[in-house]
């Protein structure tokens, strides 16, 4: 599945490792929550980067003690209709101060790319290659954003006071 980072299709440096598999030496890994919770101390000594797939039914605040040892956080959309990870993403960015890479995984489709970007995701693992190709179009379809969110796009709540449409596109 193609990975998009900051608008570009890129190679995924991370290897997804199941809980019962051995961690490959020296390679960046993306692991599950159980492994993180049970091996947190051991993982701190690891030389290569560790990323976590945080489940969407677990309060995101619980991730806070582990943030210093994480290089990537992936949040899951089991179905594109299940929007819990949007709140988790915003809380990570706006409440917990996470500035590292934040990846959307699961049933990730083109018509939700913009919502993900606005909620603070900067990596998107698209299900369909054609969707990944259309990333630019999908995230620049709108020039007007009514509400402030995590992204830098100016919202109308403030912008309107300037009374001009010029310069609203970020």
């Amino acid at each position: 599945m193609p990975l998009i980072e900051k608008g570009e299709i890129v190679a995924d440096a991370y290897v997804r490792v199941a809980d019962d598999e051995a961690l490959p030496e020296g390679a960046p890994v993306l692991i599950g929550i159980d492994r993180l919770l049970s091996e947190a101390e051991a993982l701190k000594g690891r030389q290569a980067p560790v990323g976590i797939i945080w489940p969407n039914n677990r309060p995101i605040a619980e991730i806070e003690p582990y943030l210093p040892q994480l290089a990537l956080i992936a949040l899951n959309f089991p179905s594109f209709r299940d929007g819990r990870a949007y709140s988790q993403a915003r809380l990570l960015r706006e409440r917990l101060g996470w500035t590292g890479p934040l990846r959307a995984i699961g049933n990730v489709l083109r018509d939700q790319f913009l919502l993900m970007e606005r909620s603070g995701f900067d990596q998107i693992e698209a299900v369909k290659p054609a969707d990944a190709e259309a990333f630019d179009e999908a995230t620049h379809r709108y020039t007007v954003f009514y509400q402030p969110a995590t992204d830098a796009r100016p919202s109308l709540l403030r912008q309107r006071l300037g009374r001009t449409i010029a310069g609203i596109r970020s």
Partner: protein
Amino acid sequence: MYAYDEFDRAFLAERVAEFRDQVGRRLSGALSEDEFKPLRLMNGVYLQLHAYMLRIAIPYGTLSAAQLRRMAHVARVYDRGYGHFTTRQNIQFNWIKLDELPEAMAALAEVGVHGIQTSGNCIRNVTTDQWAAATPEECDDPRIWAEILRQYSTLHPEFTYLPRKFKIAVTAAGHDRAAIKVHDVGLRLHRNEAGELGFEVLVGGGLGRTPFVGKSIRPFLPARELLSYIEAIMRVYNQYGRRDNIYKARIKILVHEIGAEEFSKAVEAEWAAIRDGALHLTDEAIADIRDRFIYPAFETLENEPAELIEALADPRFATWHRNSVHTHKVPGHAIVTISLKPVGAPPGDATADQMDVVADLAERYAFSEIRVGHEQNLCLPHVAQRDLPALWAALDAAGLATPNVNLVNDIISCPGLDYCALANTRAIPVAQEIAKRFADLDRARGVGRLHINISGCINACGHHHVGHIGILGVEKNGQEFFQITLGGRADEHAQLGTLLGPAVSYEQVPGLVEDVVDTYMELRAGPHELFIDTVARLGVEPFKERVYAAH
């Protein structure tokens, strides 16, 4: 009227372009139906029994004459010449084709009208009092706050895939015409002792399979804190609302399961973290929205002008005037309700020609403004009293002056099995038969205020739980049956109706309703005791005894 600016217009054009692209991808096969369905729903497009249905939002129930005329155009060109006004200040077209939808939407967008978020698991069209800015009862124009919420909730990145749909209603009057207690969030705008504007916040109301009256979680929220507080509610709900069972996914179930107090604590904790953030409404931001509501330049007029007094000698006009004309906050003016319930017609339906007539009359007599109420009637909020006779004559000629507002045949009804893919039974023909039993409006007037609500299934789009008489269609062995409840109400004293007894057949419903009404006429303490008050005083037992003895 709220005047859309260049931002709103740009947004709508972009939304239409996006939907056109999505329809194209669906027709080409790039999107499966499972992928497309939530996208079309978020634009108000359902697939019903006979065709696609397009639901158009009428934000806070306010329409301009030009907008209503454009709806007439869409009804004529893309549909079958009529539309249906719903219980949530929307209008529905029943016969739209998917491949023509982008065109129809583009035509509507030109006048600032759209179907955005009229369906789907997102924040829906925010509703309010159809008498806003016209009634003397209110402390502020509730539409200002509904518009702030509309903007905030439109394509909200975090809250577009909630556990389930989310409905917000606002009232600013003591008498609640917006049914705020049966919404996911109900907002009652009022002033505190210091004279500051704020909201009482209710959560967890709703009808459907598991009806609840909303619970108050905050007596006074300063008005400028509205958005941060709503965001806190939404964030708690988005994370903790149930997603394992579609029937338990509404916020009312979460509030019920953890308790209003726990829910309130979670909201307050979240709110504490964001209340001073980007959603804090400055006076400038509020003033900016407020300034884009354009109010009529009312003339200085006296109440009861000679033209009106003279016309009241005509008993037909006088009857309509007593029934459909209400007190305006400006002397010499009036609020006019236009009944969309002519006896025997489908409740809430209007033909394209009738829409054009109302648009014309609004331009001539009512500052080009039309309102839609949850009772499925229209309203002209600002009419000079001297123009009432001429307005009435024109409405009467178009079949729009039935003087039955709030009477027994002003029936609220969902579309039912005649249109809806979810319904178990029909609702509209039931309403038509009941209305005909009371076709003698003198009799209906003798009965007085009585709201009948009919839903063709447990999803309760006809709000049967809060009808003074509620009628719910259920299927039994392939036959249509109906449960009757009494004593429900949707106003500031909102409560759910009590079941009268066993379900009855389709044919029995009109007679049973007549028996209920006759029983009330015998039992009431006097002509001034309304049906709902008699039921409150006596309970349903005396009704049950009389009605079931007869059937």
